[in-house]
Amino acid sequence: MTYLDLQNDLASQGYVASDDLAMALHLAVTLGRPLLLEGAAGVGKTEIARALASARDTRLIRLQCYEGLDAAQAIYEWNYQRQLLAIQASGKTGKEAEAQIFSEDYLLERPLLQAIRQDTPPVLLIDEIDRADEEFEAYLLEVLADFQITVPELGTITAKSRPLVILTANGTRDLSDALRRRCLYAHVDYPERKTELAILDARCPGLSAALAGQIVGFVQDLRKEDLVKKPGVAEMLDFAAALSGLGVADLTEDPTALMAAMATLLKTEADRGAVPAEVAQRLAGRAA
C-alpha cells in the first residue's frame, strides 16, 4: 500500500488530504508511530482521525484534552461505589477484600486503557493535547513509548494491539520537544483553492459548479482579511449549506442573504464589524 492508496481511501470517506498529509499518515500507519497534527482551528484535524478510522474500518477512540485532565479521566479509575458496596456486603477483610475489590470487575476503562486493550488496532485520537497540562503530556510520553499502562493494584497491562495514535494541537501552549520528537509531524494548513473545491464537492454534491467556485473564492479571500478568527473548512461547509438553504444561486445577487449567511463564517463581534456589507459585496464580486 502506498500513500496514494491511502489518499484514495480517505477520499472515498469524503476527506480530501494533501500529499504531505497523506504521506505522514501513511508513515504513521506503516511505522506504527504517533502522528502530531498542528494547524489553525477548523482545518479538519479531528476529521482526519474520523476518516482514517472509517477507511480502515476500525474503532475511533477519542480523548478530548482539557486543563486538569488526570489519570482518572484519561486512563482508568476504580468504581468506588461498587467497591464500597462489595466490601460491606461480602464482610471480608484485609487481603481477601483487597483482592476482590481491586480486580478487573471494578476497573473503569478510560480512553487510553481502552485503546490498548482492543483486539484490532483502533485509531486513538488525542484531541487538543496542548490544552492538557505538562504533567499529562509527560505521562502520555510514557504511554506512547511502550504502549503499556501500570495499575499499581493489578500490575502492568501491555497492549494487545498497537493503536494508531493521532494527536492534534493548535497552539494553546508550546509542546515539549520530547513529544514532538516522538511523533511524526504534519502541519495542516487551510486548503488551497483546488483542494477546498474538492472538499466542497465531496460534502455538498448538489451545488452548481459556479456557486461552488464563488463560495470557495469568497471564503479564501475572507481568510486574507485581518480577522480574529479566520473561517475554517467546517465554516465554509456551513456557509455553503446556509446559502443553498436560503436558495441563493449567485453570491452577488442578494446582499441581505449573503450577510445573513455570513453568520456561519464570522463568529466574533469584531470580525462582524471588520467585514461590513460593502466589503462582503466587494469580495463576492471578486469571487464571481
Binding site: M23, L27, D174, R181, L184
Partner: protein, 395 residues
C-alpha cells in the same frame, strides 16, 4: 536545482547518507536525536525512496517537529540531496532562522511583519509621537532615530546587582502563583474527597470509610515573560531592570526575557549563560541600538504576532518595563496588548515615571495601554521591584 547530488565513490552507503542528512538538519537547528535516524531509514523503506518527491515528504514527516521546520525543510532537503555534488557547501538561505534564532535579532522579521511601521523610522518627529507628551519635563522625548552608538551593558550592570536581583526574582516568582489550577492533588486538607485513598483506608475498617482522604487544587507557578524598554529615555532606569532580567533568568528556568527599542530581541537564552558578565556581553552584541529611539507599539505587536504565540499562555504574566514614550501611534500599543490579552495572560506594566509626584499617564501610548493592564505600578529600583510582591500576588 533538481539534479540529484552525486556522492563520491567511497561513500559508505545510503545509511550513512541519511545520517549525514540528519546531521545537516541538526546543524540547522532541528531537534533530532539518534533514534530519528532509524525512523528516517524505516520511513524511506516504507515509501518509493527513489522518487524524490516521496522521499522528501517522508523525511519531512519524520524530521520536522513544528510548522517553522516544515517551511525550512524544502530548502535544506534541496541543498543536501539536490545539489549535484556540492554537498553542504552552499548555505541555506534561511539558516539564521534556526532554533537559535530566538536569541538573534528580530530584524529580519521586523522588516516583514511590521511593514506599516518601518517607513516611520527615518522620519524623526514626523508623527509628532513624542514631543506632545513630554509633559513639561523637557527631558523625556521619545525619538525614533536608531542609535548606532554602542552602549555596553557591562558598564550599566554589575554582578552585585545581579545577585540581588536574583533574590528579588525568586521572591516575585513565589508571589506570582496561579491559583486557578484545575488539577487536584492529594493533600491533608482540601475540598474534594480522594476516593482512591479513602477506599484503601476503608478496607481496614470493614468498608466503612471512617477516615476521608482529601484532594485540593495546588497553586501553579506562573511563567514570567519580561519585556524591557532600553530606548534612550529609559536608559537612566535600565540598570535595575536589566539586573532584574538577568536575575530572573537565573532564578527561574521557565521565564523568558526580551529587550526592545526600535526592534525586539529575545535575550532569554543569552542571559542564561553561566558567567553573568559574559551573558551581558552577549546581550550587548545582540541588542545593537540600546539607548536609541523607541517603538513600543511596533515591538509589542511584533512580540504578540511571533514569540507570544509560542511562549505566552494562560499561565503567563507579561511584565513590561517601559516609560510609555512611544514614537509609534498609540493604536499599535492597544492592538498589541489586546492580542496578548487574548492569549489569556495577565499584563503588568511597570513605569519608572509613575513614581514621580503628580504623574499622570498622559503619554498617549501609556493611556492607550491602560485598559488592558492588570497592574500598573511604579518601579525604578530593585527595592521597589521587591516591594511589589504583595500587589503582584493579588492579581
Amino acid at each position: 536545482m533538481s539534479r540529484v547530488t552525486k556522492f563520491a565513490g567511497r561513500d559508505p552507503g545510503p545509511g550513512a547518507r541519511v545520517a549525514g542528512f540528519m546531521a545537516h538538519l541538526r546543524a540547522h537547528g532541528f531537534a533530532l536525536g539518534v533514534a530519528e535516524t532509524g525512523t528516517a531509514l524505516a520511513a524511506l523503506g516504507a515509501v518509493e525512496a527513489s522518487d524524490p518527491s516521496e522521499a522528501r515528504a517522508a523525511l519531512c514527516a519524520v524530521c520536522a517537529g513544528r510548522a517553522e521546520d516544515v517551511e525550512r525543510f524544502d530548502a535544506l532537503f534541496d541543498s543536501f540531496w539536490m545539489d549535484a555534488g556540492r554537498v553542504r557547501q552552499k548555505t541555506v538561505p534561511s539558516d539564521n532562522n534556526n532554533k537559535n534564532d530566538d536569541m538573534h535579532s528580530s530584524r529580519k522579521d521586523a522588516g516583514g511583519t511590521e511593514a506599516e511601521g518601518t517607513g516611520k523610522i527615518h522620519a524623526p518627529g514626523g508623527s509628532g509621537g513624542g514631543e506632545a507628551e513630554s509633559d513639561g519635563t523637557g527631558r523625556l522625548v521619545a525619538s525614533d532615530v536608531r542609535n548606532l552608538m554602542k552602549k555596553d551593558l557591562r558598564d550599566l550592570v554589575d554582578p552585585e546587582d545581579i545577585r540581588k536581583a536574583e533574590a528579588v526574582a525568586v521572591q516575585l516568582g513565589q508571589a506570582l502563583r496561579d491559583k486557578r489550577s484545575r488539577r487536584r492533588k492529594a493533600a491533608r486538607r482540601g475540598r474534594a474527597v480522594d476516593f482512591r485513598r479513602t477506599i484503601r483506608k476503608a478496607v481496614a475498617t470493614g468498608g466503612v470509610p471512617l477516615r476521608l482522604a482529601r484532594r485540593t487544587r495546588p497553586d501553579r507557578p506562573v511563567k514570567i515573560v519580561a519585556l524591557c524598554d532600553v530606548s534612550g529615555s529609559m536608559l537612566v532606569y535600565a540598570r535595575p531592570f536589566l539586573a532584574f532580567l538577568a536575575g530572573l533568568m537565573r532564578a527561574d528556568a521557565a521565564s523568558d526575557a526580551y529587550l526592545f527599542h526600535t526592534r525586539l530581541v529575545r535575550i532569554a537564552d543569552a542571559l542564561r549563560e553561566e558567567d553573568p558578565m559574559r551573558a551581558l556581553n552577549r546581550v550587548t552584541l545582540m541588542a545593537e541600538g540600546i539607548g536609541g529611539g523607541s517603538r513600543i507599539g511596533g515591538a509589542l505587536e511584533h512580540f504578540a504576532a511571533t514569540y507570544a504565540r509560542r511562549f505566552v499562555g494562560g499561565r503567563s504574566v507579561v511584565i513590561i518595563l517601559s516609560d510609555g514614550y512611544d514614537s509609534d501611534p498609540p493604536e499599535h500599543i492597544a492592538a498589541a496588548l489586546q492580542a496578548l490579552k487574548r492569549r489569556g495572560c495577565r499584563i503588568v506594566w511597570l513605569n519608572p515615571l509613575k513614581g514621580w509626584k503628580g504623574y499622570e499617564p498622559i503619554a498617549r501610548g501609556m493611556a492607550a495601554a491602560l485598559p488592558y493592564l492588570d497592574l500598573f505600578e511604579a518601579a525604578n529600583t530593585l527595592e521597589a521591584l521587591a516591594g511589589l510582591d504583595q500587589k503582584l500576588g493579588a492579581i
